[in-house]
């Protein structure tokens, strides 16, 4: 008789050792000729260099990209093979829209917590400059039919259906939700109207994001979080000289007549990559690295935006209270908040929702509203509005920056929140 009963080992704390990213670049600028893989390799190799991981076999590397070519099916593994990590390190791809980077980190962290691996890297990359352009759908169906046809005659007969016009009507990547056809900006514009978010409040948040990012660069906060790439040493979306007057001069981008979202208070399309090194405490001390902070837990949520009853980017509003309840925490227990700024309006909608008694009761099922977030604790080293938002790279950027900020202040607790396409929200708690 075999004994199948076993006592699972207690879970381990997951340490954030550090992170690395390349400076983010606005689409079609410095990284215009870099592929997702080029960007991810640059970020990963930078991390390997900083933490001297050359030749080491790690537990795993999990990463992804949102806008992918079909050849990128094994993006993480292919990228790893281009670095000086041991080629015996396994890797896999993750994709959860803009939550990709943070979800990858949660996956690696959970394996570390369960004792399946000791150390791993999570990350993500995205380029909208080197975007995939598909061949015309009719042409594709015709070619596939020709491939299925038996015999040269049938193949030729099928291929005769190919028309020259098919070559001039390629399948372009769409900047829109598949189920609604509306762009994310149009969805967010709707949210801003529903929550009555003022233009000025959006521009103020944008200004703060740029100013804090600039200040963080000035005091060297990013020195051990960023490796230069292609001659770029800092995010080229950052406008140190930005002002409320300049932001106020921009015209609405998604609703010309009644809109409040502009190119200034929305994140631009951006190219970039980021990675985070996660390990258990034994690995950290054995390798002589201090622990910046611990990745305590995560929670994802999704909302029904298809019938219009909830805003596309409102899922974090649901994920956070669920996570707080599970962990027995409230906003008062947090020292830092790292809220992804896809749009200034989306951040402000979420904050307003958490302060709204009716919304908290009706939608979130809470007896009392979650409350307000102290803005001086939110995105203290800048956010996506300042540095840009290469979709899958944002989670890694936030996680590393938050862990370092907690380490800098000698401990504390921070919350990460990311909204994503498809009505998704990915959140996590980091603490030390």
């Amino acid at each position: 008789m075999s004994d199948y009963s076993f006592n699972p080992a207690p879970t381990r704390r997951v340490a954030i050792i550090g992170g690395n990213r390349i400076p983010f670049a606005r689409s079609n600028t410095v990284y215009a000729h870099d592929s997702n893989q080029d960007l991810l390799v640059a970020a990963l190799q930078g991390l390997v260099d900083r933490y001297n991981l050359h030749g080491q076999r790690l537990g795993e590397f999990a990463a992804g990209a949102v806008i992918k070519h079909s050849r990128d099916f094994n993006l993480a593994r292919e990228s790893l093979l281009s670095t000086t990590l041991s080629p015996q390190t396994p890797a896999y791809d993750v994709q959860q829209a803009c939550g990709t980077g943070l979800e990858a980190a949660l996956l690696v962290a959970n394996k570390i917590a369960l004792g399946q691996i000791e150390v791993g890297i999570a990350g993500g990359a995205d380029t909208t400059s080197d975007a995939p352009i598909g061949i015309n759908e009719t042409l594709r169906h015709t070619l596939l039919a020709a491939n299925r046809a038996k015999g040269m005659g049938d193949k030729l007969k099928t291929l005769l259906k190919v028309r020259p016009s098919m070559f001039f009507k390629p399948l372009l990547p769409r900047n829109g939700e598949p189920r609604t056809g509306l762009s994310m900006g149009e969805h967010c514009e709707e949210m801003a109207k529903r929550w009555q978010i003022k233009r000025l409040a959006q521009d103020e948040l944008t200004l703060t994001s740029h100013q804090r990012l600039n200040a963080a660069y000035k005091r060297g906060f990013f020195d051990d979080l960023i490796s230069p790439h292609r001659g770029l040493a800092r995010d080229n979306n950052l406008r140190a000289d930005i002002s409320l007057e300049k932001l106020a001069g921009l015209s609405p981008a998604f609703d010309r007549h009644n809109g409040t979202l502009t190119a200034g208070n929305s994140t631009p399309l951006t190219d970039g990559a980021s990675v985070v090194l996660l390990a258990n405490e034994e690995w950290a001390s054995a390798n002589g690295w201090p622990v910046l902070a611990y990745l305590r837990t995560g929670e994802t949520a999704a909302v029904n935006f298809v019938d219009g009853t909830e805003g596309l980017l409102m899922a974090p509003a649901y994920a956070v209270p669920r996570m707080l309840e599970r962990e027995g925490l409230s906003f008062a227990d947090f020292d830092l908040f790292e809220i992804h700024e896809a749009f200034a309006a989306q951040v402000l909608c979420t904050l307003k929702a958490w302060e709204d008694p009716e919304y908290c009761r009706e939608r979130l099922g809470l007896d009392a509203p979650l409350g307000a977030i102290d803005r001086s604790k939110m995105n203290v080293n800048g956010g996506s509005l300042g540095c840009g938002h290469p979709f899958a790279a944002t989670g890694g950027r936030q996680l590393a920056a938050l862990a370092k900020a907690i380490h800098e202040r000698g401990g504390g607790r921070g919350l990460i929140s990311i909204c994503a396409a498809g009505g998704l929200g990915i959140t996590a708690i980091v603490e030390k």
């Binding site: 829109g176 189920r179 609604t180 056809g181 509306l182 149009e186 709707e190 029904n304 019938d307 219009g308 009853t309």
Partner: protein, 296 residues
């Protein structure tokens, strides 16, 4: 009204319908009140074929998990509509009949492979402010019961002293608070694509030249496509047991173009909606879609 039941078998060919359509371009001027055609055209067993449904679903954006599209039997019956409108005894030229409104009611769940008995007949005249309207009834029977029905209101413009019951606005909907919830990008060949799956090859939908012949500057989208697209966009997953869709056709949608779906963001099995231009100031369709949540 006594109808003369005429079995149509096989289905009329596209060439025949086209020929009849050409012949029906002109009609002699009518003296006095029009009489209601007495023919009831019947097809005994029309299959809800998986291939036909798939092609129709693709054209309108229905997903497989939504089951047989509520508006699909209409396209199976459409050739019979054409046959009625192009008959020598029909008092007006077929090409001048404008599809004004449509209401569909489904009483039982439809299944792929199911055979329907389709009956189409002119039910009644309607006195419309803009001319003489006519309601054509489409009835679909399953093994033993009426499973699906549709009433299509067609208008012959500029007829003085129209006969029949007075027209009343069938859809007094709440226009306030409608939100733009979807954007549809309509390609130039949408009319040709929908013609292939619906059998409605009216040249105003399929080519610019054809559209110009009939006074439109560009080809216009089929009204029944717009209805299909709107139902596809709003129906939850899972097929429909019982459902109703009512729509009024408003301004034509020129191709290529983009339009938007406007509706009230609510859950539950009832949608009042409009299809408007993207800016939202021109209505193309107003509609109401009610369904009974599937028990399955």
């Amino acid at each position: 009204m006594e109808y003369i039941t005429q079995i149509i078998d096989p289905a009329p060919s596209r060439a025949q319908l086209l020929l009849d359509g050409m012949r029906a371009l002109r009609k002699p001027k009518l003296d006095g009140a029009p009489s209601l055609p007495a023919a009831r055209l019947v097809r005994c067993a029309v299959e809800l074929s998986p291939a036909g449904i798939a092609a129709y679903a693709r054209a309108c954006g229905f997903r497989r998990e939504q089951g047989v599209p509520l508006s699909y039997p209409h396209v199976l019956a459409f050739p019979l509509h054409l046959m009625l409108l192009t008959r020598p005894s029909f008092p007006y030229p077929a090409s001048g009949m404008v599809h004004l409104a449509n209401r569909i009611r489904q009483h039982q769940r439809l299944h792929e492979g199911q055979a329907l008995r389709l009956e189409v007949y002119c039910e009644r005249w309607v006195a419309h402010p803009k001319g003489q309207a006519l309601s054509i009834a489409t009835r679909a029977y399953g093994a033993d019961a009426l499973v699906w029905e549709s009433d299509s209101l067609y208008l012959r413009r500029d007829v003085d002293n129209p006969v029949g019951e007075p027209w009343s606005d069938p859809l007094p909907l709440q226009e306030d608070g409608l939100l733009r919830t979807q954007r549809w990008v309509l390609p130039a060949d949408l009319g040709r694509r929908f013609a292939k799956v619906s059998g409605d090859f009216n040249p105003i939908h399929t080519s610019v030249i054809g559209a110009r012949l009939f006074g439109f500057r560009r080809a216009i989208a089929h009204g029944m496509w717009t209805l299909g697209r709107a139902l596809a966009a709003q129906q939850p997953p899972g097929g429909l047991d019982q459902a109703q869709a009512h729509c009024d056709f408003k301004l034509p949608i020129f191709l290529p173009g983009q339009v938007a779906l406007w509706n009230h963001p609510v859950t539950g099995p009832r949608r009042e909606f409009e299809v408007r231009n993207f800016a939202g100031d021109k209505p193309h369709m107003r509609g109401l879609f009610i369904w009974k949540e599937s028990q399955a």
